[in-house]
Symmetry: C2
Subunit: 386 residues, 2 copies
């Protein structure tokens, strides 16, 4: 397979975009990415989305957006892996480009969640768990993550407040991201006093949903060298893995085996080790997932993920920066779009465009997008070539 | 890209499988395909499905089936393009195998439609149209196809009964397919007297939904030569194209431009012309779609697709056989599974396993899977090498 690169990026603000339809939101990000890439068309479109069939009663988003964007006739599909749909669409796109089947691909991650015309969002999101053996027993998706967090605290002796640095870092970084859902700093006191959602997960452990879209243009790496007047960002690693869909089926529910497997393969493909990663955009849907991802990807020992936050290492000026544009926690989590937002944000970091939250001399970025309670996990590694 | 082949096939009966869950239906087809292929695992899983999020409240079918089948840890995603989801999953799989990213892929097309736990099926299926500009105006998916059929009859001077041969052929062929939804022959008189659904489409113009799954194992073509004790079936052509999602946006709503474009590319890739196709499994969701597909793919002049039926050319013993296992009309249309059923049935034909409906000396088969009212269309060409 030939190497691939990200030629252009685009994104919309994440929030309650009641003045815009699903197609307008996705289109806005797509047009921005194509403009950034300097292209007027692409060979194929890959859309990452989880909820449109249920919440907006709109399926086949491939043809839907191909039509709206003006890619008439071009190949287009939707790829879905719950909250990992964005990264799933990226991976499908880069494989098709790497294979030589197409020479350019547009990837849109898009979600419209805040003004339903179909089923309510909490019910639609619950489809990410096991309908027969989890959902039907009455547990919500937050509840499943709460079980994991409670067990983690019990096993390794952490208190709830030890997770606060993940939220505090995310909110601080989002202050400098104009596209972020939340623009308010939070303190340890606020974290501890925040309203309970599903014990021990409170409001500040959990990421907010939102309407939003992000997009990237993927091309063969050799095409970028010739044309670009901005740093070239290549996709150095890409891998996916799965775990059991129900958490009760796992040998160890505190180990994200699909994060371990996909990051291991991505490291090998990129020829790097965890220490080489300058910035890690992880999937902090809940603070517990940040801790587990850091452990599974080789940045912390088992049960010690929270330590990185407590030791002040995860900020943009630390030695292990995560969620430098706000993460899911504060940038927001428009579920099927999140994986593409992570890629857009890594490209911004690798291009050196992040101002106050720029990670100094960032050369290698990693993004990890998680579907369900760790059931489907994609890991991508980007490298800048100047 | 390296050539790919179908190593194994599997399918379930299509019907009201109230005694089986979504995972059991998909698993049954998957296990059958892996057994036929003689493999115990695969590198990756691609699931084609349209409705599970809405009807069964189950998303991320990639991890869901990977878990159930025992492919723990393997990469897995769902690909969706409304009723073309099955072929969309196949195309994603074969590109990944052709690229060398993986060495084997399992493709499952699966749908459970007859015992909902979520939204009703007619409403869920309507998501294949344009939610803003078609569905919200109150027209059903059948209604959209009825508009096309009415216009076709007006433009080209056909009567309703002229479409009867498509239904009669499909039902006659399904008599010999043990997996088919409907096992009853129909006559011209029954066709004319059948209950109206959305004029001029009556019950015998329309395909029945159902629960069912089909699966195939895709591997590099060179792997099959070494191992197989059955005819080798290679994927000689694969292409996809889109059209506007709303039919009112089309320059000519009676021309399936995405069928034309994707079949043209598939012919080029396979190095053949329409005349070389021995058996064509087309997407006869409604009889009008059979006529339009025959025209767009080069088997009939514009407005003359119905002529092939009236002239007796579409039966397995005719010179232009279609839907030789029953087509969508009588085999049934478990929407996201249909595209994989078509591939399974072509492989059966190319292996010479079809008994009474075997197309003599079938060497090249073509399958076409349509999403929405012609918005997303995939065309695949298979060739047997003995």
């Amino acid at each position: 397979m030939r190497p691939t690169a990200i030629l252009g990026i685009g994104q919309t603000h994440i929030g309650e975009q009641w003045d815009k339809s699903l197609r307008e939101i996705g289109g806005d990000a797509a047009f921005a990415a194509m403009q950034d890439a300097g292209v007027e068309t692409v060979d194929a479109l890959f859309v990452g989305n989880m909820l449109s069939s249920t919440v907006s009663q709109q399926s086949q988003l491939g043809a839907f957006f191909s039509d709206w964007i003006g890619l008439w006739g071009q190949e287009a599909v939707k790829v879905e892996a719950a909250c990992a749909s964005g990264a799933a669409a990226l991976r499908s796109a880069l494989i098709a480009v790497a294979a030589g089947e197409i020479d350019s691909a547009l990837v849109i991650g898009v979600e419209k969640m805040t003004d339903k015309i179909g089923r309510d969002v909490a019910s639609a999101l619950a489809a990410a768990s096991d309908a027969d053996y989890e959902l039907d027993q009455g547990i919500s998706f937050v509840g499943l993550n709460a079980l994991i967090m409670r067990r983690y605290m019990h096993e390794f002796g952490w208190e709830h407040k030890d997770f606060a640095p993940f939220a505090i870092n995310a909110h601080a970084n989002a202050m400098h991201n104009p596209f972020a859902r939340l623009h308010e700093e939070v303190t340890l006191e606020q974290f501890e006093r925040s309203a309970m959602v599903a014990a021990p997960i409170n409001l500040l452990d959990a990421s907010p949903i939102g309407d939003g879209a992000a997009a990237v243009v993927v091309v063969p790496a050799e095409k970028v060298a010739a044309a670009a007047n901005k740093p070239k960002v290549v996709i150095a690693g890409s891998a996916a893995a799965t775990d059991t869909i129900a958490i009760h089926s796992r040998r160890d529910p505190l180990f994200l085996s699909a994060a371990y497997a996909s990051s291991k393969r991505a490291y090998e493909m990129a020829g790097i080790s965890p220490d080489d990663v300058d910035i890690f955009e992880l999937h902090d849907a809940f603070t517990i997932m940040a801790a587990l991802a850091l452990e599974a990807c080789g940045f912390a020992e088992r049960g010690q993920g929270v330590r990185l936050g407590l030791d002040g290492r995860i900020s943009p000026t630390g030695d292990r920066p995560i969620c430098a544009r706000g993460g899911l926690k504060a940038r927001g989590h428009p579920v099927g779009a999140t994986g593409v937002y992570q890629i857009v944000e890594l490209v911004q970091q690798l291009r050196g465009e992040c101002g106050a939250t720029q990670v100094e001399d960032a050369r290698i970025g990693m993004a990890q997008n998680i579907g369900g309670s760790g059931a489907t996990i994609f890991t991508h590694i980007l490298r800048v070539e100047r």
